[in-house]
Amino acid sequence: MVSGLFIGAVISLICGLDRVAILQVMVSRPIVAAPLTAFFLGDAMVGLQVGVMVELLWLARLPVGAAVPPDDTQVAIGGTTLAIILGERLGNAGLELVLLCLLVAILLGKVGQYFDHFARQHNVRLAQKVDAALDSGSLLMAELQHLRGLGSFSLAALGTYITIITGGLLIIPILLPLIQQPLSYSSSWIELALPLVGVAVILGTVNVSRAITLFCASFGMAFLLMWLV
């Protein structure tokens, strides 16, 4: 269990940095981060399941200007880690457990926005230190201040991950026995609904005229083709 949590933390750190601070090659997207985590934890399919459910949820929330979108990276990694670790511990790797882990991660993942906010706030001090370094004639010190910003974003990513994992490990073992049976009646529908909610939010917020018309036409056509074939 400890090694699993450690692997999750390492992936959370790498993907968390990709999200804002370095590269932006999108390994931080849930469709990548969740299967990656699950692959290293030994059950890649759980990650794929989580990735599909989370990927579209906040895709419409763009990281524009000072806006901080919800941390779907840590939600995906935390949800996947919880599902696999608790699946082994509770002897249950069913869809109900995966869904419960994900819903708890979504709820607790909200704190990720606050951690991200603190990191960006803290980095203001680094910018002031850059000024001081230049005043004292040290370009090297000024460069180092910039790199120290990576520390703030690393702590923000790990803070969110630890919150999700700690909360999940405390809540889910208590909640699962109470909710597993009732959840089993609707789990497959919830699994379908989550990505569709994401699509609906994209439809509602995308800046394209006739977005709903285009979507309905495409949906109808694809549906008809599948029905006919």
Binding site: V20, A21, Q24, V25, M26, R29, I31, V32, A44, M45, L48, V52, L57, L59, A60, V64, G65, P70, I106, Q121, N123, A127, V130, L134, L139, A142, E143, H146, R148, G149, S152, Y185, S186, S188, W189, I190, L192, L194, P195, L196, V197, V199, A200, V201, I202, G204, T205, V206, N207, V208, I212, L214, F215, S218, F219, G220, M221, A222, F223, W227
Partner: protein
């Protein structure tokens, strides 16, 4: 002094760390200074270098994939300025600030608003089918375009200097952003239909029921347009389905009981 090719490559790599110290006061300002510094070192001597460096640590914010274009152009302008070739009326700091905001708007619409949903929707087709390579397909498919922009635009920015603005205009990126968003909507429509159809087939329910999915989806979209948070929409949807599931089971059991009694 011309900035050597090796230094420009080094600057390109440093631009990958542009947002390492992103903050609410100066956004990417410190990162932009950090990326340009090896080039500025080649152009200016000690005291002048410090003075020029201060110019770049202030506010700067543009799209991360289009920042190399600005960086390339600024390096060229600094190089010309140091060589005394720059026209007097050109202020490099003003140029940097003037182009940053429009480039940010173009980049946000094209990459975050268009390309990312499109790549995600395509990759999700594979993921829904249970193909693990979906993650690789997403990363490779998505990054081909930003990698091209980061490299080619940096080269052209450095080559053209202030005329890099004309270069970006030639590419009609705002039009591409709209086309990409439209393509993403169409693919998302197909993906949604595929997911709904597969689910109904798996449960052996009549396929035509799937067309009804459009009603709640459009309704949710309209609610989202009003500014209702995604988190709230998620929990309302999940809660409703959960309660409907319980209701359905209870009703089924009731009918069975009534049937037995009858």
């Amino acid at each position: 002094m011309v900035i050597p090719r090796k230094t420009r490559v080094y600057i390109w790599f440093r631009l990958l760390l542009l947002q390492a110290s992103w903050n609410y006061e100066r956004f990417q300002g410190v990162g932009f200074f950090y990326a340009l510094l090896p080039g500025l070192r080649k152009v200016y001597a000690k005291e002048e270098l410090l003075a020029v460096s201060r110019k770049y640590t202030g506010y700067f914010n543009t799209h991360v994939y289009l920042a190399p274009l600005v960086a390339g152009a600024v390096l060229k302008l600094e190089e010309d300025h140091a060589a005394g070739k720059l026209e007097q009326q050109v202020d490099i700091k003003d140029f940097k600030e003037m182009v940053a905001a429009p480039y940010a708007a173009i980049g946000d619409a094209l990459f975050w608003g268009g390309l990312r949903p499109l790549a995600a929707a395509i990759a999700l087709f594979f993921a829904v089918k249970g193909i693990l390579w979906a993650a690789v397909i997403f990363v490779v498919g998505y990054n081909l375009v930003p990698a091209w922009f980061r490299t080619v635009f940096f080269v052209h920015g450095y080559r053209r200097g202030i005329k890099s603005v004309e270069f970006i205009q030639q590419h009609k990126l705002p039009d591409w952003a709209i086309h990409t968003k439209e393509a993403a909507i169409v693919v998302l429509g197909g993906l949604s239909a595929f997911m709904v159809f597969s689910h109904l087939t798996e449960l052996q329910l009549p396929s035509w029921l799937g067309m009804l999915t459009l009603i709640p989806m459009v309704m949710l979209g309209l609610v989202a347009r009003k500014g209702v948070s995604t988190l709230l929409l998620i929990f309302i949807t999940v809660g409703s389905i959960f309660l409907l599931g319980l209701f359905w089971v209870d009703m089924t059991q009731l009918f069975i009981m009534l049937g037995m009694d009858l």
